[in-house]
Symmetry: C2
Subunit: 226 residues, 2 copies
DNA sequence: GGAAAATGTGTCACATTTACACTCGAATAT
DNA sequence: ATATTCGAGTGTAAATGTGACACATTTTCC
């Protein structure tokens, strides 16, 4: 026994559950997995996993992402920890929810199929068991809030993107339409949105300008303005 | 063994740590406790406790509050969960941080003395061991954000309060001075700040009007405006 | 009765936010 | 080759919100 110091103190299973967001076809989506164990076998569930003995919570969430989607360095942020005694009928499990924002083009579609994962539109989410619907709702709330003052939504797009794509991402997250001119006006005031000079024709007849985001400049300006 | 389902999965100690805020003399304060076990015996530490086998995280935080301050029904909100493998040298402990806002007049001063607790001004906080300084910093950040769109700061004041007191609470939390007229102008637009008709002379020569906050009206209006 | 200390009140300049409609360029169909 | 279609791209005016600012009032204390 390594821990004699806290002898007698109860111990718990600790898990992470990931709310994985992606963007495709003007639509924000969430990745859910068919549950493999009782109860609720076959029903969609958040992607979760137990935390390893020598693993941090963040590492566990990154590991779950890597195992299921094949992606490293995915944007992850903690949502909240859920610890009701009866939240999981299989045992006393504390679960920390994370949300992830990933570029759907870079994920491994075979891997997610192998795990029985499927993308669901934010507009048409199924009911989830346990407290997973609460986790999901909280994650959406945090994300909606976050994009108001942080450029995290860019994690849902390729490095080069059009302004219309970015607007669609915001609209999908917020669940409302935005005014094109006002949206673009605000971006123009931010010097870290860089026009690459390239054009994208795949979404329109008239080509749209491709931009990228200068994260270095963003961080420096943000730091400076503290 | 109750849990055969997750056999072989590692288990962890689970704790809560509370960042307890109060207001007194134009000053926001945090309650810290002298640590009783090695390492760092005698140093100030956040008020923490292990979660019981049949207890939720929220319940554990409320219990810690009750044990140490004698207060029930204290405002509590989860901050973040910390789970680095080496965060506590005494064992593998996951800890969920909570912040609490309480009316200092109602707490049991003898009880906190018995536990070796002391109030520290936000303006003059000591360094804390483990990840407790991170927890504290995060809690302050969340609180600063929260008071911008929620009346939680009222939990730091008695049911009847003057507008100057409330302004001092905001100033203490934000760490900056606010304009009196603009502050009061905004409150006047909110119908759930009710003038009681009573006056308070204890803080000024000219008496100040006492207000209370109609939580019912607040919730109803908020709900309605969704 | 005068000084000190905190309460309480309104306006104006400026910045921010919102609403709104047409031309441009390229592909496609006739 | 011409017309049609579709998304890209652009500016202005009105409304709203925010921030700065100064003095009279009431009571206590000396």
């Amino acid at each position: 026994m390594a821990n004699t110091l806290y002898a007698g103190v109860p111990q718990f299973y600790v898990a992470v559950d990931c709310i994985i967001f992606a963007y495709e076809n003007n639509d924000i989506q969430v990745l859910l997995q068919k549950r493999k164990i009782e109860p609720f076998v076959g029903e969609p569930t958040l992607l979760g996993g137990f935390v390893g003995a020598e693993e941090s919570l963040d590492d566990a969430a990154h590991r779950v992402l890597l195992e299921r989607t094949g992606m490293k360095d995915v944007f992850l942020e903690q949502v909240e920890t859920f610890g009701e005694p009866d939240r999981d009928p299989g045992g006393r499990v504390i679960s920390t929810a994370y949300y992830a924002l990933l570029n759907k083009k870079l994920h491994d579609t075979r891997l997610i199929q192998k795990f029985g994962c499927e993308w669901y539109s934010l507009k048409n989410l199924p009911m989830l068991h346990f407290d997973h619907s609460k986790m999901l709702a909280k994650a959406i709330g945090i994300l909606r809030d976050r994009i108001g003052y942080s450029p995290v939504a860019l994690n849902l797009l390729p490095a080069e993107f059009t302004l219309t794509q970015l607007q669609r991402v915001y609209e999908g997250i917020l669940g409302m339409e935005l005014d094109k001119r006002n949206f673009r006006k605000r971006l123009k005031e931010m010097p870290y949105f860089i026009e690459t000079g390239k054009k994208d024709k795949s979404f329109s007849k008239r080509a749209a300008a491709l931009y990228n985001f200068d994260w270095m400049m963003y961080k420096q300006l943000k730091y400076y303005h503290l």
